[in-house]
Structure formats: structure tokens, C-alpha cells
Amino acid sequence: MLAYVAKRLLSLVPVLFVVTIVLFLIIHVTPGGPAASILGLEASGEEIAELNQELGLDRPIALQYVSWVGKVLRGDLGNSIFMNQSVAQAIREHAGPTLSLAIIAQFIAIALAIPFGIWAAYKRGTAADFTLMGISLLGMAVPGFLLGLFLMLLFGVHLQWLPVAGYKELSAGFWEHVKHLILPGLSLGTIQAALITRMTRSSMLDVLNLNYIKTARSKGLRESGVLLKHAFRNAFLPILTVLGQTFGTLVTGAVVVESIFNIPGLGQLILNSIARRDYSVIQGVVLVATLLYVGINLIIDLLYGAVDPRVRLDRK
């Protein structure tokens, strides 16, 4: 198991190497170079040269990369040109709402999807199954920001049960905090829910045809026991993978949904930074989100071992 963890960690090195190269280079593909695009069209050649020097952009590109990665490894993501604070600080201030939103969305998705998926598999071929699958197909075709707009229209104009904009810190009270995140969470979580429902269903169907399910029934277990204890535990592995993958989509989607519901998260930060051409912030946010995504998938991979004894032993 330990060897497996080590091997898995080692495999991340080339991935992260490529990620840093890509994010580093993004700054350098700006037309005319970053300094020119930061300063705008009216800037003189001297001003540009001055800023280049200030930002260290006049050094050889390999050197710039090495020094950037060196700083990143020490947790220094550079400074925001616009906000007069470090990028790391800005990210820390904006990460909370995004994470809260992503967690609530994931929670909503799982709470809807897994029971529906199991039920659809159990009732396969019936009207209930077809209806659920139809809804999930539709759900997959509605992007989060669009659902956000629809929900806003519905709740802002017709039903006024929930706030349609703004954000309250957790310190303002749990319910107050959650209340502001329900509609954004729903907008964000629905696609995931659709995806996970389908995944759960097909994974359950695969398992329900296996012999040990028949064994479980022949023992006299209740159907609920057969489904949950014997089938779902086995069907869970592929579902777990999807959960990990979709969490990346959630963080991504949060960026878009935040802008609709005015949530001061990483999405707001990155969008504002685009307008201000604050490249180091953009770089930093994308890097942190990527690390989060990669980290979560690593954890999921290791969790495999905990769920399936065969993986624990078989993997070298």
C-alpha cells in the first residue's frame, strides 16, 4: 500500500511539471507581451521596458520559469499588480465562498443522484426508469450558468423563498450561510446530479446481474439489504471516480455561477482580474484550482484501496 502511494505521488511530478509550464507560458502568449497588454495601447516603449524589468520579464525565459516555480514551491504566487496584496492572500480571501459552494453543490448532487440512480437501476425498463433517465439527459444539457439564470428568474420574480444574490459568511450563522448558497448550489449541482445518476444506474445494473447478488437473495436478505449492502458497495467504485472528476468541474463551474449570484469567490477574483489584466492572479487561481483537482483525484484513487480489498492487494 505504501509503495502504491509513493508510486502514485511520483506519477504526479510530470503532470505538475506540464501544468506549471502551461500556466507560465500563458502569460507570454499575450499579444505584444504582458507588459504591453497591462499598460495598454498608449504605453511608450520605455514604459514597457521599465515594467518588463520590474516584473523580471527581460530575463531569459527559462530563468524566469525556474524562479517562478521556485517561488511557487515556497508558496509565493507573486503579487497582484492591481490589488496591492499578494496573490496567495487574495486567493485565501476568496477561496472560502467557492469551496462552500462546491461542497454544497456536490452534496446536493450526491443526495439526489445516488438514490435516484439506485432506484432507476432497480426499476430498470419501467416508466419510472425512463422518466428519470429522460430528466437526467435533459439535466446534462443545461449548463450551470443557464440553470442559475432560470432559477433566478423563477425565485426572484415568482417564488421568493430563497435569496437570489449575495453571500453570507459562515460566521453569520449556518443557515444564513447555506441559504444563500442553495440556488447557486442547485445550479451547479444539477449537471453533476444528472451525470452521477446515470453513472450510478449503469454501475448498479452491471453489479445486479452478478452471481453474488443471487447468492445474497438466496440467503433471505431483504431487497434493501441486497441493493445497498451487496450491490451498492460494489457499484460504488466507478461512482467514486466520477465524483472525483466532477469535483473539478464543480470548481470550474463555480467560477461561472458565482458571477450570476454575486458570490465573492475565486470566480469573481479571476473575472475581475481578466478585466484588469492582472495576470499573476489569473495564473495563481488556475494553479491553485488545478492542485485542488489533482489532490482530490489522488485521494479518490487512494480511497479505492479502502473500498475494494482487491485493489489494496493487487496493485503494485
Binding site: V18, V22, M140, A141, F150
Partner: protein, 283 residues
């Protein structure tokens, strides 16, 4: 025999209601985009200050926007941009993905390099990478195509590579090599044709994803810039008037959902049709 199988296959996919519905809806949308100038008497940029934010009516079937432009007309012209971007992204990333995937599968050293690059690109959440690229490149339809192609190519390359690897391991490829067939011939005559089915399925999903992504980017103001209409930037404008003009949200939203749904149905139909397991059952 081959021809019989093929006609049987065509009849099968013709019999899949999901595929037929998907194809029909999508062709309809594409026709609206293509024939827009003949279908509407308004121009996409014709403003009429007196008719701002009019609700749907006989003169403006889907209402007007904040500048008094006809929404239906803007959606039809917007379809050219949105579907166009999606189509070009799907084609470009398929082509690049095919080249990368096939060559990576065939040459071991190249495989290590290319697949590590793909792993890295895939590790960055899609829209964030696109946003970062758009921030650097600047907002324009062409740059949306470039950014989304970079985002989606690695996915396709992986799919192509894994099916190319399966073909490459087959004994008949070994036999061809023993008979002195060149690499180029083996790759293009024997490996590439076998990767086309999964590629086609994947491309239809990328098409749908690209339409969503373009809409999201434009909605955020990092995609196709106004006044050129795209489904995403029409929605961006609608956000400001959401409580005054429901039609500005509902119709662009519906058309996006419809196009994505139809492409997904099409892709599902293709997959069921091309899936070797389903095929195995038939013979």
C-alpha cells in the same frame, strides 16, 4: 456480406429514436443559422430605440433586446457563431487529437512525451484553462476556437490512443510489419480507420461541450465580444434585464439546451451503434 452488414447497420441506427430525434433537431437549428438572412426581415444589428425590451408579439416573435433588436434574428445569427465555433473546435480538436493519439500509440518515446503533456493539460479544469487563455489572447471568436481546441484536444487524443493501442497489438499488424509494410502505411491504412468510430462519438460530445463552453465564456465576457451576436453574449446582456425581460433569458437558454441535448442524443445513438459490445450481440 459487408454491404449487407452495412445496410443492416444503417437500418439499425435509423431505428434508434434518440439518434433520429437528435439529428433532426440539430439539423433544424443548423438550417436556421444557415438560412437566417432569408428567414427574417430584420438584420442582427438593426436597433430601434422605440422598441426596446418588447415582449414577444406578432412583429417580434421572441421579443426584442435592450437596443430594440429582434431577438429571434439575433438568435439565428448567433447560431452561426455558436454552432460555428462548436463545429470548428470539434473538427480541429478531432484532427489534432487523431494525429497525437495515433502517433503516440505507435511510437513509444513519442508516447511518453505527448501523453505527459496531455495529462498535464487535462489536469487543469477546462473552463479555467480556457479563461486563462482568453485573458491572455484577448476576446474574439477566433481566440475562443484556439482556447477551446487546446482544452479539448487532449481528451480526444487519449480516446484515439487507447483504441489505436488495441489495434496495434493485433497479430495482423505484426504480420504486415513482417511482410515489410512501412510505418506510414500501417498507421494510415490500418490503425487510423479503426480509431474513427470512437473518435466520431467523442467528437459529437466535444461539439456539445464546445457550445456550452463558448456560451459560458461569452456569458462571462471572456468569449465572443458584443455586438456580434452569440448565444452566450445574448445571455450576458439578459442578466442585467432579467426581471424586466424574461424572454431574454428563456429563449437563448432554451436554444442552448436544445442544441446540446440534440448533440448528446446524437452522440449516444452513435455510441450504441458503434459500440463493439452491441455489435457483438448482433452477429
Amino acid at each position: 456480406m459487408r454491404r449487407e452488414q452495412r445496410s443492416l447497420a444503417i437500418r439499425r441506427i435509423g431505428g434508434s429514436p434518440a439518434f433520429v430525434a437528435g439529428a433532426a433537431i440539430f439539423l433544424l437549428l443548423a438550417a436556421l443559422a444557415l438560412f437566417a438572412p432569408w428567414l427574417t426581415s430584420y438584420g442582427p444589428y438593426d436597433m430601434k430605440v422605440t422598441e426596446r425590451l418588447n415582449a414577444p408579439s406578432g412583429t417580434h416573435l421572441l421579443g426584442t433586446d435592450e437596443f430594440g433588436r429582434d431577438l429571434l434574428t439575433r438568435l439565428m445569427y448567433g447560431a452561426r457563431v455558436s454552432i460555428g465555433v462548436g463545429l470548428v473546435v470539434a473538427l480541429l480538436s478531432s484532427l489534432l487529437g487523431l494525429l497525437i493519439g495515433v502517433y503516440a500509440a505507435y511510437y513509444k518515446t513519442l508516447d511518453h512525451v505527448l501523453m505527459r503533456i496531455c495529462d498535464g493539460l487535462v489536469a487543469i479544469p477546462g473552463i479555467l484553462l480556457a479563461i486563462a487563455l482568453m485573458a491572455a489572447l484577448g476576446a474574439s471568436a477566433l481566440n475562443v476556437v484556439i482556447a477551446l481546441t487546446i482544452v479539448f484536444t487532449p481528451n480526444i487524443a487519449r480516446v484515439v490512443r487507447s483504441s489505436a493501442l488495441i489495434v496495434k497489438e493485433q497479430t495482423y499488424i505484426e504480420a504486415m510489419r513482417a511482410q515489410g509494410a512501412g510505418d506510414l502505411r500501417i498507421i494510415w491504412r490500418h490503425i487510423v480507420p479503426n480509431t474513427l468510430s470512437p473518435l466520431l462519438v467523442q467528437a459529437s460530445f466535444v461539439f456539445a461541450e464546445a457550445i456550452i463552453s463558448e456560451a459560458a465564456l461569452s456569458f462571462l465576457g471572456a468569449g465572443v465580444p458584443a455586438p456580434e451576436p452569440s448565444w452566450g453574449n445574448i445571455l450576458q446582456a439578459s442578466k442585467l434585464v432579467i426581471y424586466k425581460a424574461w424572454w431574454m433569458v428563456v429563449f437563448p437558454g432554451a436554444i442552448i439546451v436544445l442544441s446540446v441535448l440534440s448533440l448528446n442524443l446524437l452522440g449516444d445513438g452513435l455510441r450504441d451503434w458503434l459500440d463493439p459490445r452491441v455489435k457483438g450481440k448482433r452477429t
